[in-house]
């Protein structure tokens, strides 16, 4: 299978007032084309920072070292300008809290179209066409009306679908979803996960970061378990969940209600 993202010896550190903190400590893994990989771990395990560092959206006091190969490029060596050509185009992002992830003073339509206008140099009308297409893909109703609305007029589930739509605007190869279902209610979670499995059918690679083992069991092919900045276990989802090798994975699984197993 083709590898789409290859991470070697990634280290992420933060300068804080209490000294330097290592958030990600020498992590290596790869993601295959078309798979859905789950990254599990508690909050603070470094799973989010791993993926933020890959595309250079760490906060200002963070720095990353190591090697991240994507499209035959080492992302960590690219300049901000070169990186920004990849972000949003080849790699899409979805964040945890849909309530705060959209710009409050811009119309939904503009937030979608600006991505393809910038990356694909599409005209406004082409971009609007594309926007309607992706909104249809994420199963949003009354699209013509929707693109003239502001985020505060929409529900959390709708906003998260729009976030997914934004990530799809330039037909990305990889989508990184950081706890995309955590802030949503259970039925909306189901809908969002359904969209993910649809996307996977279109051969889009998905990295799903979550602490919710139940979600991973449902959609992921492979799992990486992280704890305190290191990978403690990785492998096929069924295997990791059924016969966990590492103590920490066992501990994580013990937190899942019995019936889910």
């Amino acid at each position: 299978m083709d590898t789409i993202l290859d991470v070697k010896n990634l280290i992420v550190k933060f300068d804080t007032t209490q000294g330097e903190i290592t958030a990600v400590n020498n992590v290596s893994f790869n993601i295959n084309k078309g798979e859905c990989i789950g990254i599990a771990g508690e909050s603070g395990s470094g799973k989010t920072q791993t993926f933020f560092s890959i595309t250079g959206i760490l906060s200002d006091n963070g720095k990353a070292a190591g090697e991240v190969n994507f499209n035959n490029l080492n992302l960590l060596e690219l300049s901000e300008a070169e990186l920004s050509k990849i972000r949003g185009k080849d790699i899409g992002f979805i964040f945890q809290d849909p309530m705060t992830s959209l710009t409050p003073h811009m119309k939904i339509g503009d937030q979608l179209t600006e991505v393809s206008i910038f990356h694909d140099k599409k005209s406004k009308s082409e971009s609007i066409k594309k926007a309607k297409e992706v909104l249809d893909k994420v199963r949003l109703p009354r699209i013509n009306n929707l693109i003239t609305k502001y985020q505060h007029e929409l529900s959390g589930g709708m906003r998260q679908r729009i976030m997914i739509g934004i990530s799809l605007m330039c037909n990305p190869k990889l989508i990184i979803a950081d706890e995309p279902t955590t802030a949503l209610d259970v039925t909306t979670q189901k809908d969002i996960l359904k969209i993910f499995s649809d996307l996977q059918k279109e051969n889009i690679t998905i990295a799903l970061i979550t602490h919710d083992i139940g979600v991973l069991a449902e959609v992921s092919d492979n799992i990486i378990v992280m704890n305190e900045g290191s990978i403690v276990e990785k492998g096929k989802t069924n295997k990791v969940l059924v016969e966990p090798k590492h103590d920490y994975t066992k501990h994580l699984l013990s937190c899942v209600p019995e019936w889910l197993k």
Binding site: R87, T100, P104, M106
Partner: protein, 308 residues
């Protein structure tokens, strides 16, 4: 929009009436009237004067007359500048004061926002420290200290700029007054803008914008500014109030023939009509500014419905 205007008017008119009443009764509460300082007049003449200015009638009656005239736009005759009406005096000073005030508001808003955004983007760098240093000077050096020092340096030592007079609105005559008037506001606005921009830059939707790979200047222009400028819009009216009071002193220091001068003279000499005329003008201007900031807020923040 119409509802917003209506709502503001329902506050504005009672406020204005309260202000008129407040000034009217307060000035009459004070011992001594506008004519008591002058040499003693024969009683019949004094009576005539009082009659001419309606001072012989019961005070409530006087207030009624004054209020109804004011609401028609007639602010009455000045007590001290006997050949002029208050309307004429205000009309003569207004162009000067409004030029000074408008230039100061525009300069404060523009420079304050610009410096604040730059400082926020370059947070914790030399640029940030420099901007915040200047802003600290602006906050700690009151305009009545700054103005004499500036005119000492630029006017007397280097002879670059005139230190007093209006010069028919010549731009060189405007520079020193406008700068000394604006600096405190620039300081406050830039701090405010820096704080709110930093907050916006840390918000989730900026993370989204960055993850879209948009260039930095587009993120700032489209996503950051409109969200960060809201506190400054809310500050518009207090800033105007600050500039108004500041202009009273600045007009004195630079010898500008604006309204501020009439206010001080009027207050010191108990020129009732002049003082309350200026007060009404100031209050109306302020309320107009509040309306403008309401409209701006509604335009900038879609969460505020304009007809709410």
């Amino acid at each position: 929009m119409i509802q917003l205007l209506f709502k503001r008017l329902t506050i504005a008119i009672p406020t204005l009436i309260i202000i008129i009443a407040f000034v009217f009764f307060l000035m009459r509460l004070a011992p001594g009237g506008p004519f008591t300082n002058e040499r003693a007049l024969p009683p019949e003449i004094e009576q005539k004067i009082n009659q001419a200015y309606d001072l012989d009638k019961p005070i409530i009656h006087q207030f009624g007359i004054y209020l109804s005239k004011t609401l028609k736009g007639d602010l009455g005759p000045s007590y001290k500048y006997k050949d002029f009406t208050v309307n004429e005096l205000i009309a003569s000073g207004f162009p000067v004061s409004i030029t000074l005030g408008l230039s100061a508001i525009i300069l404060s808003l523009f420079l304050g926002c610009l410096l604040g955004i730059i400082a926020a983007i370059k947070k914790n760098t030399a640029i940030d420290y420099a901007v915040m240093g200047v802003s600290l000077v602006g906050i700690c050096v009151p305009s009545f200290v700054l103005a004499p020092i500036l005119s000492l340096i630029f006017g007397l030592y280097f002879g670059l700029l005139p230190i007093s007079g209006w010069g028919n609105g010549n731009i060189y005559n405007l520079i020193l007054p406008v700068v000394s008037l604006s600096l405190p506001q620039i300081a406050i606005i830039s701090r405010m803008m820096r704080a709110s921009t930093i907050e916006t830059l840390n918000s989730d939707f900026i993370k989204t914008a960055r993850s879209k790979g948009l260039p930095k200047n587009r993120i700032i222009r489209k996503h950051v500014i409109r969200a960060s400028i809201l506190p400054v819009i809310d500050y518009l009216a207090p800033a105007t109030a600050g500039l108004m009071t500041g202009s009273i002193i600045i007009e004195q220091i630079f010898g500008l023939p604006g309204i501020g001068r009439y206010f001080v003279v009027g207050a010191l000499q108990r020129d009732y009509t002049l003082v309350s005329g200026v007060m009404i003008l100031y209050a109306s201007l302020l309320m107009f500014l509040i309306l403008i900031s309401d409209i701006l807020r509604a335009l900038l923040d879609p969460r505020v419905k304009i007809n709410d």
